[in-house]
Amino acid sequence: MKAMILKEFRELRRDKRTMAMLIVLPIVLLTIFGYAANFTVDTIPTRVIGPGAEQAAANAPELFDIGEVDAEATTDDALAWMTDNATEVVIDTTTQPPTAYVDGASLFTAQSASAAFGRMGDQVEVDILFNPDLETSWVMVPALIGLILTFIGTIITSIGLVKERQSGTLEQLAVMPLKPADVIIGKIAPYFLLASFDMLVVTFLGVWIFDVPFNGSPWLFAIGAGIFLFVVLGIGVLISTVSQTQAQAIQLAIMLLLPQILLSGFIFPLDAMPTAIAAIGRCLPLTYFVEIAQGIFLRGAGLDALWVPYAVLTGMALLVFTAAVLRFRRDLAPSAHHRAKSKAA
């Protein structure tokens, strides 16, 4: 038995990825959970409008971070801001008593805001927009679509590609008179189509079973999902190029998947995280897809409101997918890569 234990430790010591999962991952998880796992929102971006805006801003509880006080703005402006996700709360003093518009798509923020306004009694009338009953499923389902796409894009794709490498057939493909682009597209297209099909199924099921409203443009959502798919498929291909076995690919994919689940804002609100942790979240593609999905599903937001996440995701897609294709191409046509390097030299 002693020999067995020693052998196991020796193997583990040399398996750097497993060691990373055993030692680094718990520390990272503990740190992230400790800071990120916070449902309590400390500050809520708020705007105040109407003739009594100055006074209402002064009387607002500390929780509300008053960003803009505009006596001239109208209720229509307030609703437009909310749709554009420009702020989480608008206190509208054009009505009597003032109306507080709260973004129900930001579940925990809305819960905190409602509770705070509730403590003010009749002074404010609360109108929760986009998710009046604060249904968890309404917020989770759009975000879950992103998680499912991430899962297929990274884990399934990387496993599929590594399998080709592991069985030696990737070398056979490299020897065939196929262009690297043909192999790459031919290899990735089925996963893209399957993930797109999954996205459609989950969207329909989400709307049908959980009554999640779909208020925005289906085409805009499809484009966003397509761009996001390029990012996650690119990550999957990159994982495959640095993994020799399917187990290694799964390990790496999980290491990249976990932060996306925890820090993309779909479980724990980004606003409730310390700045440094939220900054990590803002580097993750799922964060931007969640923003797009919730914006289109619940707020019915258009491109004018969502151009930032679209732009960031497009940038990420170009970067990650290009890197992935170049790495994969190098595996398929190493001599061409060598010739190009020789020419450059």
């Binding site: 057939t169 070398e171 065939m176 190493p334 001599s335 061409a336």
Partner: protein, 285 residues
């Protein structure tokens, strides 16, 4: 004279400080079967990967069909890698169909021997049949050159003989064949051999030429274990086949001196390819 299908001149491949292939030159002409012979780790597969363009050489010149290895060149060859390069989750027929489509060739018929497994998954058929399928896939598009990396490894003798029949048939039709092997019996099937040891080519020529450079002495004695130990102690290159002791590239006087008073018959015999190879490896090493 026709241009060789493969021409490698002083090709070297280094991986960091390790030199896997060290200044090897090799050529393969149409209709010729060239055997690349060497132990595991001799550099055979690395050389093949460079010829195919899967690995750039660190030094030296390499031409495939008269040009640097390229996709166009690879379209004219059939390759059977050591791992066979078959898709286990596809059926026999689907594997052939995919290869046909990739090469843009007409449909390859499922070999008769595989007719019963036509719709069976490749992962579920035996290794011998998998190798037959790999050969059929490699030959389907009518290649001018066959590159076979350990093509009969793990195959029973009957299947091995069948596969070699296929190789000979192809060569008779003008296909050049480069085959790596570490089976001495297979080397005898080749027109020309290149012996590799520790990354270097340590011998080249026809089987008879290679063997002719090596001498062997059969040492017949009932005390064969003592004879073996005595010769080994004396630094003689000694090989054992069953209970037959053979001294390779050794002087008869030296052998008798090493045996001392041990009663034994010492008789010059023809060296085998294996002995020639070991002798060259030793002198190279």
């Amino acid at each position: 004279m026709a241009e060789p299908l493969i021409h490698a001149q002083d090709v070297t491949r280094r991986f960091g400080d390790f030199t896997a292939v060290d200044g090897v030159s090799i050529s393969v002409a149409a209709g010729e079967i060239v055997g690349l012979l060497g132990a595991n780790g001799a550099g055979k597969t690395t050389l093949i990967r460079m010829i195919l363009g899967l690995l750039p050489p660190s030094d030296g010149a390499l031409a495939l069909f008269g040009a640097p290895p390229s996709r166009e060149g690879r379209a004219r060859l059939g390759y059977v890698p050591q791992g066979l390069g078959l898709w286990d989750d596809l059926t026999v027929a689907e594997n052939l169909a995919f290869v046909d489509q990739a090469f843009g060739s007409r449909a390859t018929a499922v070999p008769d021997a595989l007719a019963g497994s036509r719709d069976g998954l490749v992962g579920g058929i035996g290794l011998g049949r998998q190798r037959q399928l790999a050969f059929a896939a490699a030959l389907g598009h009518g290649p001018e050159l066959l590159v076979l990396d350990e093509p009969t490894s793990g195959v029973d003798p009957l299947s091995r003989a069948r596969l070699w029949d296929t190789v000979h048939e192809s060569a008779e039709q003008g296909v050049g064949v480069l085959v790596t092997t570490h089976y001495m019996q297979e080397a005898e099937q080749c027109d020309r051999l290149v012996l590799m040891s520790q990354g270097r080519a340590v011998g080249e020529g026809q089987l008879a030429d290679i063997v002719a450079g090596t001498t062997a002495l059969a040492v017949r004695t009932e005390r064969w274990q003592d004879a073996f130990e005595a010769l080994d102690r004396a630094g003689v290159l000694v090989m054992l086949s069953g209970t037959h002791v053979r001294a390779v590239d050794a002087d008869e006087v030296r052998v008798r001196a090493a045996l001392g008073g041990l009663a034994a018959e010492v008789e010059p015999v023809g060296a085998t390819l294996e002995e020639a190879m070991v002798a060259r490896e030793r002198s190279a090493g």
